[in-house]
């Protein structure tokens, strides 16, 4: 607790607690304030989170990574990041030009890669996850991968509807925290159309290097997609029957997580 952290871990009473939590415990004090080093560490983490919220996805690089699989570029009605942050409703609808460019097909599944609140998450993990999932989906008619700018989860409803997809999987950058700025989430929706409720979706969250890995995430995604196709639904009903090996997903409900209100990322 003192300003001088013990250097010998055997003598540091905090070492067993530090090993058990990422929380910023036992930072020391200078008077009542934070010592300089942990104060600057905090600022660095916040700067990284802020930069990723306002960062941009490298869509050309994504297209290259996904080739030869076809990609489509779309944009929501939120013209820029400031509008996106203030107007979640606009991030859930396609701009007219994008909507006009989508033609119906016969697709079992369409992937949408949405920037969401973390460009970093999309840049780091989205292509890997789509490729890992595609490798596990032989025989599936998978539509072009839609790369969506200024997009929220529900934009996948309109995209999936226009493309005639039976199932849409939206990969979205989750709101960055101080410890993890590049966490990706996946929302799976059966029968996408404008107006789908959040309770109709299944969610896999926390996909990043220190969280859920790409391969297990792809496994979960493919398991859920397969179950959804068999049972012709996603959402609460599908979640309840998921085997424990898959693990219960946090529902993308209004109350998330646990007791706190909506987090605004979806």
């Amino acid at each position: 607790m003192s300003g001088d952290r013990p250097t010998d871990p055997r003598r540091d009473p905090w070492s067993r607690f530090r090993a058990a939590t990422p929380a910023r415990i036992a930072l020391g004090r200078v008077g009542d304030g934070l010592p300089t080093a942990p104060m600057l560490e905090f600022q660095a983490a916040h700067a990284r989170a802020r930069d990723t919220v306002h960062g941009t996805v490298d869509y050309d690089r994504l297209a290259e990574r996904l080739a030869p699989h076809a990609v489509l570029r779309v944009h929501s009605q939120a013209a820029d990041r400031a509008t996106y942050l203030r107007r979640p409703d606009l991030g859930r609808r396609l701009d007219p030009q994008s909507a006009g460019a989508l033609v119906p097909g016969d697709w079992d599944l369409v992937f949408v890669i949405a920037d969401g609140l973390s460009a970093l998450a999309v840049n780091h993990h989205a292509a890997d996850l789509v490729l890992a999932a595609l490798a596990r989906l032989p025989g599936w008619r998978v539509g072009p991968v839609v790369l969506a700018e200024q997009a929220r989860v529900a934009l996948g409803d309109e995209i999936g509807g226009l493309l005639g997809a039976r199932l849409v999987a939206v990969l979205v950058g989750e709101r960055p925290g101080l410890s993890v700025a590049d966490s990706l989430g996946v929302y799976l929706t059966w029968g996408p159309r404008i107006g789908c409720k959040d309770a109709e979706r299944n969610c896999i969250s926390n996909i990043h290097a220190a969280g859920l890995g790409i391969e297990p995430a792809a496994g979960k995604l493919v398991w859920l997609a397969t179950e959804a196709s068999v049972r012709r639904l996603t959402g609460v009903a599908l979640k309840e029957d998921a085997p424990t090996a898959i693990g219960p997903q946090e529902p993308p409900a209004v109350i998330s997580p646990s007791s706190r209100g909506p987090q605004g990322g979806s």
């Binding site: 013990p6 905090w14 934070l34």
Partner: protein, 516 residues
């Protein structure tokens, strides 16, 4: 200007012509009385459909008309993104001031006769109107909203007068008057309010500043949580509650966590209370299994529909309240509930009924008040920039929520916080926490390093609490202060200096369980 007939645009486009400056003498406002006030014999129920009255004011030669009371309140609100998102906000700064002019002249009785959310379909409206104490209201019954602001700021409105008035105020009256207040007013009036609650500690006393120790962990790891709790205790934090937001809301982890805190509390004989911030139904299940439940938690909102989206209603809260009371675990009192609120929750549930987000938030305090909670806090910056865009909006909302709750007799604390997609940073939280300490906030949050690693947002830290306590000469709750003295953690000036690893308190708290 006479009565305005017929349907009117809620928000007239502002006239952007530049006019010569015109001073106060040329400002005028005219309020068209609500029909209800002209027929005082009608009950709120009977007036349900009879309240489409328009309000107007003339500012610098331009007349602004507001279609009904909801529009007037919304347009009078300081600018915030949630009202803009809902399409309720004033469309110009002049229109906003015009709305305040009209609001200032509105008799308070209008709010008792005109329901913003229908009485017939909303149990929160029924709670507000049916439980209104007309005798307590009598001293201000003749006032307008502007008159109430002036009275609240006057020396006549002292602590005793404000405590006596609280049952006579409704959320709508309180929200309305707050819209006429500058931040300075929100602080000075709140500082005169006192709302005292008791369980194992006494919160809200003069000269005190409480803190919730919030030791959240991304996977509810018991050792990790214990580490955060012990660090907080060594900073003297946790007299309001040691309260964990669980990573997963299920009965087994609820019981594990509540037992973990209870074991620490008993082992070190700490006068405080525990809470696991899971859904109220989980707490009911845990109480049915004889888990050591101190405070029962629930998020609440200002309309029946918004509460339904949280999976609750007044009767469920009643049931939980009775169950918690029956445990009789409090030692100095029996306030045993803990509520969280926050502007924007009703809109996000599409349950705001066209009411601006600040007014509908204050209605949640009427829900809280009914159950005499031990703690209530607004989670002011948590909801995101689509409701409160930046630090200016967060700071204003935090001060509004605090004052409005205190005026209603609700023991308000504030989670001074922001998310990484809001235009805010820790400097802004420093500002808000200092303003709230000046306003006499009951408690704020203590999160290790201000970084909540489970909920992924930033709040106030253990260090922040010590800073405020020493800056403002505040102590924690008296029972907890006594414990800190007994642990040898306070110096001769009553401050809590850094505790070295070999201090008595550190040796005692950090010894492995089972050690002597």
């Amino acid at each position: 200007m006479g009565k305005v007939d017929g349907p009117l645009l809620i928000c007239l486009k502002g006239d952007h012509q530049r006019r010569q400056p015109i001073f106060c003498a040329e400002m005028s406002s005219q309020v068209v009385p609500a029909r209800a006030t002209m027929i005082p014999s009608l009950t709120p129920r009977e007036q349900g459909a009879a309240t489409e009255m328009a309000y107007s004011a003339t500012l610098m030669g331009q007349r602004h008309v507001f279609a009904d009371l909801r529009a007037l309140l919304a347009c009078a609100s300081p600018r915030r993104s949630g009202d803009e998102l809902a399409g309720l906000a004033a469309t110009s700064d002049e229109q906003r001031v015009a709305a305040r002019l009209a609001l200032a002249d509105l008799p308070l009785t209008v709010f008792l006769n005109e329901a913003l959310v229908p009485y017939e379909t909303d149990e929160v409206t029924r709670l507000i109107l049916d439980s209104h104490d007309r005798r307590a209201f009598a001293p201000v019954a003749h006032l307008t909203v502007g008159g109430l602001r002036d009275w609240l700021l006057s020396y006549a409105a002292d602590e005793a007068a404000l405590i006596a008035l609280a049952p006579g105020l409704t959320p709508e009256i309180v929200a309305a008057v707050s819209k006429l207040m500058r931040n300075q007013d929100l602080i000075t009036v709140a500082a005169k309010c006192r709302v005292i609650t008791r369980f194992r500690t006494t919160m809200g006393l003069a000269g005190r500043l409480g803190s919730r120790l919030q030791p959240n962990h991304p996977t509810d790891d018991p050792t990790g949580i214990a580490g955060s709790i012990l660090d907080g205790l060594l900073c003297g934090v946790g007299d309001a509650v040691i309260g964990i937001n669980p990573a997963s809301d299920n009965l087994a982890s609820y019981i594990t966590l509540v037992e973990l805190i209870d074991a620490l509390r008993c082992r070190f004989n700490i006068p405080t209370q525990s809470c696991v911030l899971a859904h109220v139904t989980t707490a009911l299940d845990a109480m049915a299994r004889d888990a050591p439940v101190d405070l029962v938690f629930q998020s609440i909102a200002g309309t029946e529909a918004a509460n339904a989206s949280f999976g609750i209603g007044l009767s469920l809260l009643d049931e939980a309240h009775q169950a918690a009371l029956a445990l009789k675990r409090g030692t100095v009192g029996d306030n045993c509930l803990y509520f969280e609120t926050g502007q924007g929750s009703a809109l996000s549930a599409d349950a705001h009924h066209g009411v601006d987000q600040q007014t509908v938030e204050v209605r949640a305090y009427a829900v809280a008040r009914r159950f005499q909670p031990f703690l209530v806090n607004t989670v002011v910056g948590f909801i995101g920039p689509e409701y409160l865009y930046d630090a200016k909006q967060i700071i204003r909302a935090g001060l509004e929520d605090h004052l409005c709750a205190k005026l209603l007799g609700v023991p308000m604390g504030v989670d001074v916080c922001y998310t990484n997609h809001a235009e805010a940073d820790q400097d802004d939280m420093d500002s808000l926490m200092v303003l709230l300490a000046a306003a006499g906030v009951n408690f704020i949050m203590g999160v290790p390093g201000a970084d909540d690693v489970m909920l992924n947002y930033q709040s106030t830290s253990y260090h922040d609490i010590l800073t405020l306590r020493h800056l403002f000469q505040r102590q924690p709750a008296p029972e907890f202060e006594q414990w800190l003295r007994w642990m040898g953690m306070l110096d001769e000036q009553g401050r809590l200096p850094p505790q070295s690893g070999d201090s008595t308190a550190a040796l005692r708290l950090l010894a492995p369980a089972g050690a002597p």
